[in-house]
């Protein structure tokens, strides 16, 4: 019975030890810290510092004409700093974030006594390692030796402890600063994405209701026409929904959308407008913001082509110019009339939206301008950097009997 209990107890104890060891290991692993806190770097740094001190004291002994072996000095200083390194690293591991969070009272009540204890402890270990020191003196007891070492090095040791303490705090502050900076950048990206989503969303309903209105009016006079327009609208919605929230799409997809949009408008304007679309074949896979052209086209209809009762011409072109894509939409109508544009509210919304999106996607690497190329023709030009999709998606295609 007793034995059993003891067995249970020891197994429990072992488990606890194992648990602690695991926790300890996890703590080492989980703290992805700057390279300074890698044990090899941290302790190695201390030992190097020790060697430097050894060299310095060797040189100063030499200048005083006192001969001592450099190796001996190296050993003594090296071990001293090795012990310091190990102690400080373990303290860092043990205290962790508490070093960062400690306030002045905590430092005075906790860290100060700790520093004294560590200083004494370190000298105790060191004396154990070098029983032959101090040399050329009468034999001393262990505690006398410790006393002797402390007399000589207490201030130095305290200095070393506090320097390490503030170094760790300094690195912590730096890290926190970097984290904050990173979070801010991340937030900025997210805000931009949210804005882009919002801007894309504005396009769909606007255009959708206009077209539905068109169908509603058409179905009173031309059932087949309304039917066609409904089919076109569904097709358009289908590919828009399929595309989801993807921001950049191949130009071939954007142009497919444009062609469908133009087909609907063609129906709506009953042959009063002739539409032309020209795309350089090498640009089919170039990436452009989804539905970037639709507001411009809509603008061309509402403020230009709709004012003509026949022979309207709308040209959409995509050309490559070096490392840029030039998209142009040209339409006939009444030209650019500042008076007119000012009196039509809402006109700016679509184009402002386009400008915002270009700005969000490409920063300053893009341009957008609207000008009158002749008395009755207005042209919108967009220039954007030429980019290609990493892996172009193949759409459904199949062969068979």
């Amino acid at each position: 019975m007793e034995l059993q209990r003891r067995l249970v107890h020891t197994s429990r104890g072992r488990k606890r030890v194992e648990g602690l060891a695991l926790k300890f290991l996890e703590r080492i692993k989980s703290r992805s810290q700057p390279i300074v806190f890698h044990p090899a770097v941290f302790i190695g740094g201390f030992v190097c510092l020790g060697f430097l001190f050894a060299l310095q004291s060797w040189v100063s002994y030499r200048t005083m004409n006192y001969k001592i072996s450099l190796v001996l000095l190296m050993e003594a200083w090296g071990v001293q700093f090795l012990i310091w390194g190990v102690i400080c690293w373990l303290l860092w591991l043990w205290l962790g974030p508490r070093i960062q969070q400690a306030e002045l009272p905590g430092i005075l009540m906790g860290v100060l006594p700790l520093s004294i204890a560590v200083t004494i402890g370190e000298e105790m270990i060191w004396v154990l390692c070098f029983p032959g020191w101090p040399m050329e003196r009468k034999a001393m007891s262990y505690w006398q030796k410790v006393q002797f070492q402390l007399d000589a090095e207490f201030v130095d040791n305290m200095l070393l402890f506090w320097c390490t303490f503030f170094l760790i705090r300094g690195v912590g502050y730096y890290q926190k600063y970097r984290e904050k900076e990173h979070a801010a950048a991340q937030l900025e990206i997210e805000v931009v994405h949210a804005q882009m989503r919002a801007l894309r969303m504005q396009l769909n309903p606007h255009f959708l209701f206009n077209t539905l209105n068109g169908i509603s009016s058409l179905m009173r006079v031309d059932i087949a026409g309304a039917d066609t327009m409904l089919e076109q609208l569904s097709s358009l919605l289908r590919i828009t929904l399929e595309r989801g929230e993807i921001q950049l799409i191949p130009l071939s997809d954007e142009m497919e959308f444009v062609e469908m949009y133009l087909a609907i408008q063609h129906q709506r304007y009953a042959g009063r407008v002739c539409e032309k679309v020209r795309v350089e074949p090498e640009l089919h896979d170039a990436l452009v913001p989804a539905m970037i052209l639709q507001p411009i086209l809509e603008n061309a209809y509402t403020h230009g082509l709709s004012l003509l009762d026949r022979d309207g011409v709308l040209t959409v072109e995509a050309r490559r110019e070096g490392g840029l894509v030039r998209l142009t939409v040209r339409n006939t109508g009444v030209g650019l009339n500042p008076e007119f544009t000012r009196t039509s509210p809402g006109q700016g919304v679509g184009l402002a939206n386009v400008k915002n999106r270009l700005q969000l996607h490409y920063g300053e690497d893009q341009c957008f301008f609207l000008d009158a190329v002749s008395a009755d023709t207005v042209m919108v030009t967009i220039m954007l950097p030429l980019q290609f999709a990493m892996s172009p998606t193949r759409k459904l295609t199949g062969y068979g009997v």
Binding site: S235, H284, L396, T397, Y399, V401
Partner: protein, 250 residues
């Protein structure tokens, strides 16, 4: 006369199809069904030539209906035109040799072309001609239909409707009588699929359907070109000239 059955779980959808089919004098709707089980029963009894089939129906789906019917021995399967709001079944429908795949809502025009395809297939199966046999023997090696998505529609395009094909970098443009479609495909891959008896590569970047070639001409500058029946000019490389001359004088 084509006897047709309309299977769709929605009354309005059936009504619309019935109404549109009134414009097709050759098609006679002999029955309607609203569930998969009803459809199987109706088709078994009425033995229609053509089945307009919705895919998502209560109980089983459209493909289950076809599977159930196909498993019956000595039963002639009707031709199937799928009518659905979902585009994700297109390849499957293509693989089981459906006549067409209509995405709802569709227009009379689109329905008409589907019915036309069905009519041709039905005629073909009733009186197989010599040409049809020839096509069939080549059928294993060469494609007769291409399925693809264009402008939000699913097309089962018979290659015989293609007039010519132009290369545009990583894409090909397929031109039919009334439309053009941009496909992400290479010329060489497409050329492999096409029957050389019907299609001829006349240029690095163009393939023509010989059925639509009117003449081959060399203009004042010595440039060769192929003229299609609709008057369209397609540039031709000299190296291909002999091949097409051969064909024209056959």
């Amino acid at each position: 006369m084509i006897h047709a059955v309309v299977a769709d779980d929605e009354l309005l959808a059936r009504q619309k199809l019935r109404q549109l089919l009134r414009e097709e004098p050759e098609v006679d709707v002999i029955g309607e069904s609203a569930t998969a089980a009803e459809t199987i029963e109706l088709v078994r009894v009425a033995q229609p030539d053509l089945l307009f089939l919705d895919i998502r129906m209560p109980g089983m789906d459209g493909f289950d209906v076809i599977e159930a019917l196909a498993s019956e021995p000595s039963f002639t399967m009707p031709r199937v035109i799928f009518t659905t709001a979902y585009d994700s079944y297109a390849l499957r429908a293509f693989d089981i040799h459906a006549v067409d795949y209509l995405l709802k809502p569709f227009t009379l025009e689109r329905l008409h072309s589907a019915v036309e395809n069905a009519r041709q297939q039905l005629q073909g199966s009733k009186q197989p001609s010599a040409r049809e046999d020839e096509a069939k023997s080549n059928g294993d090696r060469y494609t007769q239909r291409i399925v693809f998505k264009s402008r939000g529609r699913i097309l089962f395009l018979a290659v015989s409707e293609i007039r010519w094909i132009g290369a545009e970098e990583n894409y090909v443009r397929i031109c039919t009588q009334s439309e053009t479609h941009l496909l992400r495909e290479t010329m060489s891959r497409l050329e492999e699929r096409l029957d050389p008896q019907m299609f001829l590569r006349v240029h690095r970047s163009s393939i023509v359907n010989l059925q639509f070639v009117k003449e081959v001409r060399t203009d004042a500058d010595g440039e060769c070109m192929v003229i299609l029946v609709n008057g369209q000019k397609i540039p031709m490389s000299r190296s291909y000239r002999a091949r097409i001359q051969d064909w024209l004088h056959r």
